[in-house]
Point group: C2
Chain length 191, copies 2
DNA sequence: ATAATGACTGAAATGTTCATCTGGTCAAAA
DNA sequence: TTTTGACCAGATGAACATTTCAGTCATTAT
């Protein structure tokens, strides 16, 4: 069977988006890296944005899978929530694609990138909200609360503590953040 | 005695910054509104940025004064913290100058504005941290905790709940935010 | 004397022009 | 039927021209 051209294209595009960002990646460039004609890309994807979206969907899937691996049914809900959130934000800090896109969002405000980053955040909150419901509320580990709002607050809190705090102060260790989560959120939520 | 030219200039500049933002305000414009020669401005202020800084210093003073008025020694620390923070963010939403500058920060990223907004945030955190120490810790109303970190978390939490949450959901009422503060932070801090 | 002024200056921002680039198409080739 | 790259219209940005503006200082007013 012939080589899987679609996969070649996706790989090439991922590489280029990671290296140069969304805007600075040209379809000619993607075609060249993938060793296909430019027209071929358009037999698999309606346009540049759809190609981008498909890559982001994979990214989201992988992030969820990473978070899922961080969860350990032997541990408490609180520990697991911390581990999942921390894993997600670590993932964001470790991967060239998310770093580049985050930078492009702040520095250039490319609309397609803004859109996609909003979707990413929404999906993370959705995922965390699910865990708050199933691991926290359903299992009786925490009080009744709005899972959406709780997930939203948790994510914002983590982003503030990891990314904003260190703009003016020495960065917080993973352990310190876990303790803050305990101190500020769980003492209020636990039964 | 002759008219107070310095005050005229400050008033004119405040008006222009509020209406057009920092970048779009010209010194000629300020001079014209103030009915003084442009050179006169430079007898009172070294440059445009120093004039801006003086106006921001007044703004900070007024914000603190507003917050101070919201605090009522009869009430609990928790209530007072909520009232002070909410008052500060209300102030930011109500005043043309802060609205305009916030917009200029996001949309244009004018360096002088970024700088000044960072100072504003720092001063708010400093102020709140002081209240956490004197009203909370010293009076024994809450546990020992890092006042800086607590103030930082509180402010970020409030900004998220007031400004970010409503990007995707119906806005939260003042009362709801107070309850979230109670639920997520105070249950963990109170003795 | 001192205080106030606004015409002036150079640097930086902005507008304009035009050649190049790029997302997307489609007729031809494989 | 699938793949391709030459082609097109609109977007982009480099190069240059023009305007704007923060800040100065010689002159004027008090």
């Amino acid at each position: 069977m012939a080589i899987d051209r679609k996969q070649l294209i996706v790989k090439a595009a991922t590489k280029s988006f990671s290296l140069f960002g969304y805007k600075a990646t040209t379809m000619d460039q993607v075609a060249k890296i993938a060793n296909v004609g430019k027209g071929t890309i358009y037999t698999f994807f309606k346009n540049k944005e759809e190609l981008f979206d498909e890559i982001i969907s994979s990214l989201i899937k992988e992030m969820k899978s990473e978070a899922e691996q961080a969860i350990d049914s032997e541990r408490s809900f609180q520990e697991n929530l911390h581990r999942a959130l921390y894993r997600i934000l670590e993932y964001r800090m470790e991967h060239q694609l998310t770093i580049k896109l985050f930078q492009e969002e702040r520095e250039m405000g490319t609309p397609a990138v803004l859109e996609v980053m909003a979707r990413l955040e929404k999906e993370i909150i959705q995922y965390i909200a699910g865990k708050v419901q199933t691991l926290g509320i359903d299992k009786g580990e925490i009080k009744q609360c709005d899972p959406q709002l709780t997930a939203f607050i948790m994510l914002k809190l983590y982003i503030s503590l990891i990314f904003d705090w260190e703009k003016e102060h020495p960065p917080l260790e993973k352990q310190e953040i876990a303790e803050l989560l305990e101190q500020y959120v769980f003492k209020g939520l636990s039964i």
